[in-house]
Each structure stands twice: as structure tokens, then as C-alpha cells.
Symmetry: D2
Subunit: 148 residues, 4 copies
Amino acid sequence: MSTDARFDGPSALDPVEVNAAVRALFPGSNNECVELGPDFAVARVVAGPDAIRPGGFISGPTQFGLADAVLWYLTFAAVGRIEPMALTSELSMRFLRPAVGPELWARATLEVAGRRNVVGSVRIWVHDEDRPCSIAQGTYALPWPSAT
Amino acid sequence: MSTDARFDGPSALDPVEVNAAVRALFPGSNNECVELGPDFAVARVVAGPDAIRPGGFISGPTQFGLADAVLWYLTFAAVGRIEPMALTSELSMRFLRPAVGPELWARATLEVAGRRNVVGSVRIWVHDEDRPCSIAQGTYALPWPSAT
Amino acid sequence: MSTDARFDGPSALDPVEVNAAVRALFPGSNNECVELGPDFAVARVVAGPDAIRPGGFISGPTQFGLADAVLWYLTFAAVGRIEPMALTSELSMRFLRPAVGPELWARATLEVAGRRNVVGSVRIWVHDEDRPCSIAQGTYALPWPSAT
Amino acid sequence: MSTDARFDGPSALDPVEVNAAVRALFPGSNNECVELGPDFAVARVVAGPDAIRPGGFISGPTQFGLADAVLWYLTFAAVGRIEPMALTSELSMRFLRPAVGPELWARATLEVAGRRNVVGSVRIWVHDEDRPCSIAQGTYALPWPSAT
């Protein structure tokens, strides 16, 4: 259980900064930060041919990768800085509907930001945010000792 | 992945009916259905002395029990009938803040209702819904063959 | 991700000590520690009438309560002391088979013990450990700053 | 809760068949089935440069992708046939230790195989199976109506 330290002011970060930092740190990532606020982040990924599994669906790991990325961006927003060593400690996903389309969107919502962890909920969709293809919840651990 | 059969009309059930049926079926339950709509349910439980763990917090299992109950009520609403043999197939919880207070509230939101499963997200709080003490996501399996 | 500090020697604790401490700290708990080693714990609970849900099954929350308890005992064993303020940070359960019988057993296996967290896997059964009625994985957060 | 239909005889499938079928169905997958039995599957993946995240660790999504794949192979073994339309319904992962090395291994263990679902546990490691870098549990839904 986290001591509560919800970030109150507007986030000092914007998507351009986040994307530049992530490209430099983790060039293998195709995910893109689209929007960022103190308690949410929006991301998307274009589904390349490698992401398509039997049935024409965007694969589960592609969805997991986007969920993981959007929670990372949310963590940056929640702590107010790019924190490359924030690491996923756990993430659970539920797949609800086939994901058919050219790109995938995700919104992460901050549930709590503490000294040790940031917890968020994620919704992933193709065309309609109200009909998610998957949902997730997960935890990022902040580096120890945390500078927060 | 569920074939989508989201319930469109208003739920035919109300909390009084749900509570009467649950009391008859499962007299051990202390949880109470407070509000019910086609895609949500609200529940509460009064935390008796057995529910208090070290530190004065309402215990995790009490929170799990309420999450499980509110998802059951949501399942009834989503399929439009009391379905005693709908069973939890999986549920994951994250504990965010100490739960200190006399009673616990929970809101379940429908994520998808299919022929086989109902999936929902849950938020649990003591005083302020915007500062949840725990969050959960889970799946109820409908009886086989489903009458839906 | 936890810095690894797996406890090597035999646990200094035994089930009698654990049960005495838990009874004092958390009198509402019916769960009992049966066996304890440096990287495992075994627990059981007698299912009272309140624990029986429609169909004659031991309820999900009773199973969750036992899973949560056995992970707490495992945490004590892993850190080598009764640690009342170790708190569940997350726990996910999957229900596999009906739990029909007078009592429930659980075994927790240590996955990692770090400075901040203890993670374990749990198997719950009625008659046969090889046919679990549910499985779980979860995380206990150690108090901050941890004395370990 | 699944009606129990655990596969008793030896699996009719072998890794060569599984890999050939998966390469044909899902050419984007780099994961490889290494071993297969009626109640387990072993898989590995070579971590390409795109899989490395800050700190030199094999990324979480790469680990998720391998967990998802090894549960798919386990599902094939449990139902005794290649079942391309078996789909992940939920999967939760816990990250325990940094994953540093050239390749990742995973072992899935069957928890239950029913008419509707197959549930398994997964352990992922780089050098030593007893020191996993992550663990997972998840559910594959079988196509409806299932031929099993």
C-alpha cells in the first residue's frame, strides 16, 4: 500500500519530450505517446505485419506492449520527470474483443502514485474507446531510493 | 475473447430483488447491492470487528469479498436475471491505500458481456470514490450452456 | 523488480509462533499456519456455514482469504520475523474447479524476496494438491524503511 | 469453473509440428517450442536488439510474448491438436529480477483443461529456472463450440 503522493500540479512533461527520450533510451519501441496529463496518458501504435496473428487480429503481445508503454508514460507524468529506471513490477490484461484495424490506441489513468510505486488502469481500443479490445491494470516500481 | 452481447435496454432487476435472492442463496454474505444499472452496480459492506486487521485497516479479504459480490450483481444486471451459477473465474486486486472507516463501497463497471463471460472493473473506497483503497478486474463465467 | 535477498538459512519461525502472533494481531482470522519453511508455507481453514455459496462450494472470498494468509506466513518466513505491517499490494486468483469439502488447504511457494516486496505463488485444494480448486500469485510490500 | 477434462495420454503433438504450424499461421512470432508433454510446454526466444530496454534488460513485452506463446503451445498439448483459434482471455505477469542474457526460456504447467478454457502457470528465466525473471498465470479460451 503506497503512501499517497498524488502529483497535484500540471505535468511538466509533454509527449514530444517523452517520445524523444524513449526513442533514445529504447529504440526498439514502436509505441508513441500522444497526450499526457498529470493523471493520464494516451498512446498509440501502428500494427505492422509482425503484429497480426491468426484471424487477422492484432496480437496480444502487441497490446501488452502498448499497455506497458502507456503506463510508463503515465509514470513519467505522475513523478514529473522521465524516469528510465521505472520498471514494471506486475501487469494483468484481459482480452475482450478482437482487435481488428490498422492501429491501436491506449489510455492509462492514474490510480495512485506513491514513493515506491505508480499504479494505473489501461483501456485499449481500435476504433471506439467505449468498446475496448482489452483492459489492463499494472504497477511500475520507482527506483530505490526514490528521489520523489 | 467474447462474442459481444452487451445488454442494451435498462436492467429488469433492482437492488431489492438482488438482495432478496442473494440472502436466500448465500446467507453468509454481508454485502449489499445498493444500485444497479445495465452496465454498472454499486455495493457496500459494513466492516464488522472480524474484518479489521493490524493497523486498523479493513482486511484485504473483506475488500475481495465486496469486489466479488459487486461483480456478481453486475453479472445479473448484464444478463438481465439472477444467475446463481455464474461463478468467478478469475479476479485480480491491487491495494492502493489503507481502508480505514466503518463501511466499504464498491462500484463495478461492465467491460464486456458475452455468451460465456462477463468482465468488469471495480473500484473500492471508504470515503471518496476518487481515492480508492483498492481496484480490481475480474471475470464471471456464465453457466454452460448459457440461455442468453 | 526486486533486489534479490532470498533467505538462505532455515526459517527461525515455526507455525506455533505464527499462529499465536496472528491470533493476537488479527483475531478475526480463521486461517491456520500448518507448516513453514524458508521458501514455503502451508495453511488451512475450516469452512464454516458462512463460507458456503450456491452449489455447495466454498466461496471465492474464503479461498482468497486463505491465499492472502498463506502469503503473509510465507512473508514472515522469507524475512525471518513476524512482520504485522507487511501488506498485500496485489493478488490475482484463478478459480479452476468447485471447492467441495469441509476444509481448504493452501501452499505458498516463494518466488522472490527483496528489500521491498515478497512475491509468491499459491495453490489451494480440498482433497488433492494436484487438483487445485484455485491458484493465485501475489505480492506483499514490506514496511518502509525495511529493516532487512 | 471448468469441467475437468485433463488430457491423460501422451500428447499427440511434438515441437516440430507446433513450430511448423505456428510459423505458417503467425509468421511474426520469434518464439520457438522446444519441448511438449501432455501437461507442460517449454519455449524460448532469442532476444534481438529491439527487445532490449534501458538497463540492458530484455523487455517486459518480450517476456509477455513468450509467456503467451508457451501457454498457446500448452493449450495445443492439452487439447491434443493445433488450435489456431484458441485465444488468450487473460494473462497476468509479475517481474521478479532483471532479465539479462541472449535468450529467454519459459516453462508452462497445465493447471486445468476444460471444455471452454485452458489455464496454466508460467515461469520465465535466462540462466537458471530456479531464479525466474518473471512468472505468469493465464487463460486461453477454446473456440465455441469446442470440438473437445
